[in-house]
Amino acid sequence: MGDHHHGPAKGLSRWLFTTNHKDIGTMYLWFSFSMFMLGGTFAMIIRAELFQPGLQLVEPAFFNQMTTLHGLIMVFGAIMPSFVGLANWLIPMMIGAPDMALPRMNNWSFWILPPTFLLLASTLFMEGGAPAAGWTFYAPLSTTYAAPSVTFFIFSVHVLGLSSIMGSINIIATVMNMRAPGMTYMKMPLFVWTWLITAFLLVAVMPVLAGAVTMMLMDVHFGTSFFSAAGGGDPVLFQHVFWFFGHPEVYIIILPAFGVVSQIIPAFSRKPLFGYDSMVYATASIAFLSFIVWAHHMYTVGMPVAGELFFMYATMLIAVPTGVKVFNWVTTMWRGSLSFETPMLFCIGFLVLFTIGGFTGLMLAIAPSDFQYHDTYFVVAHFHYVMVAGAVFSMSAAIYFWLPKWCGRMYNETMGKTHFWISFIGFNLAFFPQHFVGLAGMPRRIPDYALQFTDFNMMSSIGAFIYGLSQVLFLYNVIATIVAGKPVSDPKVWDGAEGLEWTIPTPAPYHTFETPPKIDPAHAHS
């Protein structure tokens, strides 16, 4: 392993062979950002086509490939890897560990991702085009009726599942074994807690997804009929299996975001998080409940009424721990000493918009009403409020918050705030009107729509372009910071920030906590 006190290796081999959690974290973050741009490009194509009624730019078949790839790339390529990147950078620094527990596996779990997404994107150029059955790829549209590229899609899902499982095992092993002496579980920063729980969710449900796509593979190539009614199979089975993975998956996406927000709001309120213990318990209950609500995505498939009732009640219950979280964040701000630097702005944006997404979630949970909402733009609005304004906003907050620590340079605050406001306005312009068209009866995943929906779709497209452009500003700001930002050297970049990562020098040296720090027993969590 050589001498640990050296800096990084030089050139390409540094990145190819690195086992350093900071390098790997950096690679994850850049990779996920590039996927964010790719998925974003697809979204721009979708919104450009939907700018007016009629077909202008693309044909329906290609439109479906765009929605499918957009969803898959955003979920699996942008959001999930970005939080893994954050985990890599922060978990060792937050628990006082020198690195991740399994550094070589860490290298692998990253490096199998880029080829996988290259393969997935290359399906666009294959005969019959890319997968086009939506990111939920319901059978038999995704099996018997799919283009040949579905085989490559299945392979991609297998590999990225592998990557997620390896990443999760690494996080679990690190958190369980590498905490500095005195860092008990109930002293861990909330970001570490939410990631620990997320990692367990991932290990539990990724194999289920792998099972689903394996059955698809068998149906496509080996003559089985798991999901084909003609051969005695059951298309609804696919949906049960998919959503048994899929619902926990949405919490896999949002729990680390909860963690980020729980670190940042106290820092800029200059006040400890109101209820640390209850936040931990709320996270755990959400994770538990997320396993027993999956069929709320399937209210219209014709389940027996008892099943519908069970899933409705269970889903409604999720609102309780989710509410606990929101109340906690707001109470943390109450009578604090607030300042509104960019990370805080993004957290407040998160808080407002995620709460709106939670409300629409509660509405969707009500099975009889969901007969009217299901598979309309109302659902599209709901999940963009929780995924974009939830996960992506919190990710932006995280980058602004920790970037100065990582590279020892301060970002441009004016540009950061501008990024926030343009994002906030663009996002709402893009997605708020989608509630309206959804309620008025516009189905999702259509390339063309009735004239009555025109104005709101136009608004939505303009908002989407604005939101998309604001990300270019973000990219510029980040690069400008890394290259030429104003140097900072105070270990505690933010006066209100708490936690071990703020005790090490700024910028964070290549190796940290080679000797474990001493944890002040009186000093509770973060």
Binding site: P53, G54, L55, Q56, P60, A61, N64, A132, G134, P140, L141, Y145, A230, P235, V236, S269, R270, K271, F274, G275, Y276, S278, T300, V301, G302, V305, L309, M316, L317, V320, V324, V330, T331, M333, W334, G336, S337, L338, S339, I348, L351, V352, T355, F359, M363, I366, P368, F371, Q372, H374, D375, L439, A440, G441, P443, R445, L451, Q452, F453, D455
Partner: protein, 381 residues
């Protein structure tokens, strides 16, 4: 020529159609509608009330949460000299904000449960319609105890020229079909919903009915509409390329109009049945076939068989080749192309006529013909 005639017809029919639509209430989304429509059924109204009520509860909670938050944002800012207090952890508060939401949810669960039970109450239906989703059209089959089922396909009527922006778009762009479902008012109608190929979902917002059409399953749903009118919906489950182009139109009419419509349909079916047994002359076939061609094939194969989306019929190797091969293309289509299987859509008489017509029109002077019995035998294999 032909287009000229069509335009004239449209001009003449325009005022009539407008009059008709002013009398018959037409529903569907309104321009820039922002909320769910209460609909025209008792269940729809209950769902709408539930929706409004839960939206109201959420709004009240939202105002509370955001109120507290914005109060802090305005008054507890560092720039105003606010000093952070250090209170945290209060079991009382935390129990309160766990228990109170739980109680609110309990209250919400009551009307939700009863409405759901009502949605699921499929008993005592006065009539049944089998709804089958196809890529990309709907088939409606009126189940009749005597075995004389009436069935037909319902296709998108909006022309490609409107979709591709060559012609101005009509008022019901993408929400119009060639043949709507017709049901009587104030009658409990049960829908038996299934899919032929992939999963579709039959949704009419004004009736508050949405149910997935799944191959191998028959789902049940029902409606009882209390206002005469035309109600429009769309397929709600991604079903492939033309998912956005398979609308649903339900024409709700008085009971008298309904039985008149139904007997008309039954008479039509009986007439076809009779025709099936007959043999036709070439002239008869060509005459009927021309009408069928113009209705079902012209859009893709052109008014003069010159082709377009579809291949040219004039001089086509298939059309001027083996007659069985030609018939097979008509019945089973060409998989993977826009040439669909018309075997399930055209009755045997029309199929025989249109194939015969193609072989004897546009300069294809084959002189041979297909009889309905040939179509029947071909389908049987």
């Amino acid at each position: 020529m032909c287009f000229e005639a069509k335009r004239l017809l449209k001009l003449a029919l325009g005022p009539v159609l407008m009059l008709v639509s002013a009398v018959v209430l037409a529903y569907g989304p309104e321009v820039n509608q922002v909320n769910m429509a209460p609909g025209v059924t008792a269940v729809g109204e209950r769902i709408y009330d539930l929706h409004m009520w839960i939206l109201g509860v959420c709004t009240v909670i939202g105002v509370g949460v955001f109120g507290v938050m914005f109060y802090s944002i305005i008054n507890h800012r560092k720039s105003k000299g606010a000093v952070a207090s250090h209170f945290h952890e209060s079991t009382k508060v935390e129990i309160a904000w766990t228990v109170i939401p739980f109680l609110i949810l309990l209250v919400m669960a009551v009307p939700s449960t009863s409405t759901l039970l009502e949605v699921y109450n499929n008993d005592d239906a006065e009539m049944d319609i089998l709804v089958t989703g196809f890529q990309w059209k709907w088939k409606y089959e009126y189940i009749d105890e005597s075995g004389e089922n009436v069935s037909f396909f319902s296709n998108l009527r909006t022309p490609q020229s409107e979709i591709h922006n060559a012609d101005p778009k009509g008022e019901y762009y993408l929400l119009e079909v060639d043949e709507p479902m017709v049901i009587p008012v104030n009658t409990k109608v049960r829908f038996l919903i299934t899919g032929n190929d992939v999963i579709h979902s039959w949704w009419v917002p004004d009736l508050a009915v949405k149910r997935d059409a799944i191959p191998g399953f028959i789902n049940e749903a029902w409606t009882k509409v209390d206002t005469v009118g035309v109600y429009r919906g769309q397929c709600a489950e991604l079903c492939g390329k033309d998912h956005g182009f398979m609308p649903i139109v339900v024409n709700v009419v008085s009971k008298e109009d309904y039985s008149q419509w139904l007997s008309g349909k039954q008479a039509e079916a009986a007439a076809i049945k009779e025709l099936m047994a007959q043999t036709f002359t070439l002239d008869q076939q060509v005459e009927r076939g021309k009408a069928v061609y113009e209705r079902s094939c012209l859009a893709c194969h052109g008014a003069n068989g010159e082709g377009g989306v579809g291949k040219a019929i004039a001089g086509s190797a298939i059309v001027t080749g083996d007659i069985n091969k030609h018939l097979d293309v008509g019945i089973n289509g060409v998989p993977g192309t826009a040439m669909q299987a018309f075997g399930g859509q055209l009755n045997d008489v029309d199929m025989a006529a249109v194939i015969t017509y193609q072989r004897n029109a546009f300069g294809n002077n084959m002189g041979d013909m297909v009889q309905p019995i040939d179509v029947y035998n071909h389908k049987k294999g």
